[in-house]
Symmetry: D2
Subunit: 249 residues, 4 copies
């Protein structure tokens, strides 16, 4: 990889804290009386250590957690990473998502799928997602639509996978089913047990091989003499529901 350039976003690590910053000449980052001048970073190789600071090119996870503007609850990387593979995505697959939200899942899909379509009915969220993807140069295989999935014209039997992240997914199940290829994968993100219960009541006959699960992530302190889990952890983000399109003969 090439050395850091003026204007690019970098991840700066200072002990237990992380920062995402744009490398603008003459600017700097101050943490606990230590100063990192961006002029000293520009031109240096990735992974450079300057004083107590370490500077890297951000991963997609860093961008989502530190850089994405949020108008809605973000999909956590722990969930997004699992979803992308669980849906069976790879470079030859087409995936459709609604609603786009802040675009985090969209960004993750873009790294693995061949084609990503994402629908968001609320204009404010659509604009935020668009800005997030453009700002960090997320791959060009994403089509964002500021449109209600329920009203949009969607090609039939076209997608290998569909992911649904809206509060009330139940009215869309038929349309999701139609948009999928035979045997295609479907996924849902639902924060509450009530939503999962209602979805399980509605899903039958349309989708099979149903799985319901949660992904939990437990971080550990990194001091080798006192190895132990962190005191606090994220207790819940959402329930995930997965299935496959059933085909009537």
């Amino acid at each position: 990889m090439s050395s850091f350039k003026e204007g690019e976003y970098v991840l700066i690590v200072h002990n237990d804290r992380k920062f995402l910053r744009k490398l603008i000449p003459k600017q700097s980052l101050n943490v606990k009386k230590e100063v990192l001048k961006f002029d000293e970073v520009i031109g240096k190789p990735e992974g450079v250590r300057i004083g107590s600071f370490e500077v890297y090119r951000p991963t997609l996870e860093d961008l989502i957690l530190l850089g994405f503007e949020r108008k809605t609850q973000i999909i956590y990387p722990k969930d997004a990473f699992y979803i992308a593979f669980k849906l069976g995505l790879n470079g030859e697959k087409r995936v459709l998502e609604f609603g786009t939200g802040s675009g985090a899942l969209c960004a993750v899909f873009s790294q693995i799928a061949g084609e990503v379509w994402s629908y968001e009915a609320v204009e404010e969220f659509y604009k935020t997602a668009k800005k997030n993807l453009e700002r960090f140069g997320i791959k060009g295989n994403v089509k964002l639509f500021n449109e209600d999935f329920g009203k949009a014209e969607i090609p039939q039997n076209y997608f290998d996978a569909v992911f649904v992240d809206v509060r009330e997914p139940y009215p869309y199940l038929e349309k999701v089913h139609q948009s999928l290829k035979d045997g295609g994968s479907v996924g849902f993100l639902l924060p509450t047990a009530n939503q999962v219960i209602k979805l399980l009541e509605s899903i039958n006959g349309l989708f099979g091989n149903i799985e319901v699960l949660e992904i939990l992530q437990r971080y550990y302190k990194r001091v080798p003499e006192r190895f132990r889990p962190e005191d606090q952890m994220v207790g819940h983000t959402a329930y995930l529901v997965f299935g496959r399109k059933l085909t009537s003969l």
Copy 2:
């Protein structure tokens, strides 16, 4: 997608049980006195329901969990999916892995990375991994080496990411560092706390932005009238350690 063909592997779901089977004419699957004749499956569309059976094309997760032959402890999909994204992989990235084990992580990497190199010192494991990848037609971007990573000639500053799954990773840290590009990502899978403690003692100076974590997966019963977690869950697979290559000036 096209309809099921003779000789392909399919996922068969019968209530709570899953089976991976090759569609060989005249053969069948018997579950609790119900019979699925493969001749009735061949030619049908994906997602077909026949009696109490549902038949799908398997996802990579299905192949790993049900189809991969195992000579070593398998890397669980919950972990493999997280690792692949945490390392920052996408179609433009090159990743190296050792040891290959049964090839599960290798298969996951192949779906997202541009180039996958995988080293396995033990011939028996190498052959098993090779058979697993070939049997299920895993993408051609994987190079398997039956070679000890410690002794192999590895290009320097070549890989965007390296993943290490061996019992004693400590002697290889320098070589891993050299094989990575500046700021490249490294990951380790370690079943015991003792290994993590020893790694954390050894890693300093070579890698920064260290994170240690576990991924836990909690499945739920799918009966809408009695929504609740499954009685049993996987309690532990491994600790995951991630870092980034530090570059001395």
Copy 3:
């Protein structure tokens, strides 16, 4: 403590396995070709090691897990221990419970509360619980009733705490409220989210300071060179709901 006597129940530990046995002369325990003759145990002090066997007097947890006959789902010690203290029990407190089930929670209450009343409508369960408590000489502060709590004559404003372990607790809420002293504690054990949702809808106005929680227990392997959690764990037993009696002025 005195040495082991003929006829008493003992906990026998053999590596990772545990057994509850009655010390009957001439009998023995065979584990993997090793034999523990009970005649060699009688007269020995507690904690004795004979060959690979260790012999102890059982704790209440050992009795519940290994000795209690079960006609119903048992309340796990991890839950029972928490419940007993959460209800604020001690030697001066009176607690009522229904249904008795196999008597496990009853046995735990008996060790800490001054007075325990327990109602069980199903005769078979009542008899099993009675047998369990008598067999292991559980303290005499327990009154077992083979009676439906809903129909029983219960003293009013009498109990410091009430615990409810029945499938449909909603019809009993008024009666539970009446049986409690002002500000008394109430607890519920409910396996499914649907039950908790329905209880939360019904409870309002009668009880305040509501808490809903789960207790999870993660066991670790005890080999110091390979410290790590057990591969499997109990994923779910039940949701616990606690509250306090509200008093209208």
Copy 4:
């Protein structure tokens, strides 16, 4: 129970927040522009609701979490409740504990055991624990010692159970063993994996039936229309190790 009296401590609940306050005439509690005058509480029955406030007599858990002054890391109720029963305590049992810390475990033991001895070497901690127990009138079966357990004169074969909560328990194992009756229970609270590993290396031969575990507590939101776990949870407090005294013949 009798009505609230001047000078007693009460638990005040206001929506999601809890307060422990002493009922001093003319004083009051202000939460979000609502005022609870203590003069209106005195003389009222427990469980009274005044405006959005609910007032109860505190349970031991409330006292520990809201009332205990802390000079050291407190033992969480979820752990303390489990420990007390796991050690097999009841009104006929004698338990010894060191170090006392803030006295939380001591207070829990006092509710169930017949006799509690607690040693604390650090004078400041000893005084805090003493103040905590006296302030809330914890039962008189507790003897607090401002003494180093290692140097104290401890009766031999006297205790049914011993609990150890010090950073370096290893030098005390022999003395703990001597203080216990044959087959007596021992427990340890250790925040880090390193401590558990070292303890497991040291414990052998002295104690058997070893168990290592963690207790996790997951709270849920109490809104029936949106039932789901809380966003954040306590990720780790400590590892617990339990065993039984082995007796050499």
